[in-house]
Symmetry: C2
Subunit: 270 residues, 2 copies
């Protein structure tokens, strides 16, 4: 780990081995791009964190966390990736949360490793491993990420930068570490995230920006074929921005007019 690490507001802190974040993945995280000392799309990150904490019944004071995080950013490189982990805190053995447990908050800073050439199109694959369906957890960026670990290993074996990931119902959900969109006849489509996957902050920003620009958007069930047949396809996340797809399952693209407009919007955030 390259930058500072704070545990509950103190630098260089350690984690209690009895933390429920470790025991059960009982917590959430956010990964934020930091530019010029400030968090890109910070409000969206904190609002997702607030919503997800409420959904999991985690008694988190997000306003206080945000204040601490601003202090933390002053100790970080002006350009980096900051990660926030929030857990349900330390408690005894057993799945039942202790209502008296105080959430653990960890901030860490990491180098931003950009892949500039990916801005001009990547070859994408389709993963064979599928996500399970769990509406209770869908959308939240929680700490139960073994599926993503296995998918990331498959992606490495496939030798591609990103890949479409389907759920066990055969519908596309997202990328391995991104959300995914397609453009068809001027409409911007992205998978509905209600059974699996993460409702990414960049996905939310794009949906809101497109709506404000009068670009029709739709969250829906989408197959791999719908992506292969699309006019444009791109991956997005709040660290890497937007990666247009230049190839997928034998289909090739060389122009991405709407994707390019959205990339310009991303550049304005930096």
């Amino acid at each position: 780990m390259s930058g500072p690490v704070w545990v509950n507001g103190s630098e260089g802190g350690h984690l209690d081995p009895a933390d429920r974040g470790l025991a059960y993945g009982d917590g959430l995280f956010e990964t934020l791009r930091v530019e010029k000392g400030r968090a890109v799309l910070g409000d969206l990150h904190f609002s997702r964190l607030r919503d997800s904490a409420a959904a999991l019944g985690l008694a988190l004071d997000v306003a206080a966390l945000q204040q601490d995080f601003l202090r933390f950013l002053q100790a970080c490189p002006a350009r980096c990736v900051a990660k926030i982990i929030v857990t349900r805190g330390v408690s005894g053995r057993g799945y039942l949360p202790d209502p008296a447990a105080v959430p653990t908050v960890i901030f860490s800073a990491h180098p931003l490793t950009e892949i500039p050439e990916a801005q001009d199109g990547i070859e994408a694959a389709v993963c064979t491993l599928q996500l399970g369906l769990q509406p209770l957890l869908a959308g939240h960026k929680h700490l139960n990420r073994l599926e993503q670990v296995l998918l990331r290993r498959e992606l490495e074996a496939l030798g591609k930068r990103e890949a479409l990931v389907c759920a066990s119902d055969g519908q596309v959900v997202e990328g391995v570490f991104s959300n995914v969109f397609l453009v068809r006849d001027g409409v911007l489509y992205t998978p509905l995230i209600d059974q699996a996957g993460v409702r990414g902050v960049m996905r939310a920003a794009i949906l809101a920006h497109a709506a404000a620009q009068g670009i029709p958007t739709q969250e829906s069930r989408l197959t791999v074929d719908a992506f292969r047949d699309a006019d444009e396809v791109f991956f997005c996340n709040s660290v890497n921005g937007i990666w247009p797809v230049s190839g997928l399952s034998g289909r090739h693209w060389t122009q991405w007019p709407l994707t390019r407009r959205l990339q310009a919007f991303w550049q304005e955030q930096l």
Copy 2:
């Protein structure tokens, strides 16, 4: 936490906040009952740990871990619950495992809190929350346990000691913190754990013991109705042993001839 805690063989150790066990739940655990200073069904626990580590691609030296654990037990109360957590270790940000990462091993000891009256039958409920289906992770006692946290909260709200948990296909998988069996016409049935759930050590011990005793066993798809219509129903795990079910969805039981034989087998292990 009441007893000693060892991290990588050292007492009182702390966990690195960059551990993948915290970041992604990228690891496994075992919960062992300790009686007279030794782990009950220890061989089965370590063999499951070996199998699950191999399935997740975790480079774990189980023999060395077992040696360390024997030393740890000497520092524990002769009667307690010992927990082993194994993670993929510390690495940088990102889902991709670092092949050079060394697994983190945590031992902790906890009080054994028995519920003696449960040996004579418990009222059971049926949870409304359902498990997602994920054959890649089914069977393993991994650290992605948010579903169990939510289920344990539901169980608390239901005011029952244990409950049947179904997967999203409607089939019964297990209890909230146990496996579950039914007896029908002399045959011992337990849900097949291939899509969801944990292949419990006590479940394995019961299946092996029954087979050795000439009791027919079957792992199969079982509905809630199959449990309600059974001659006997019981929950089991390697800490609490066997809890016969005295009531479920309006059905009542007062005698458990086969369950009682299996409870005697459990007592022999202590």
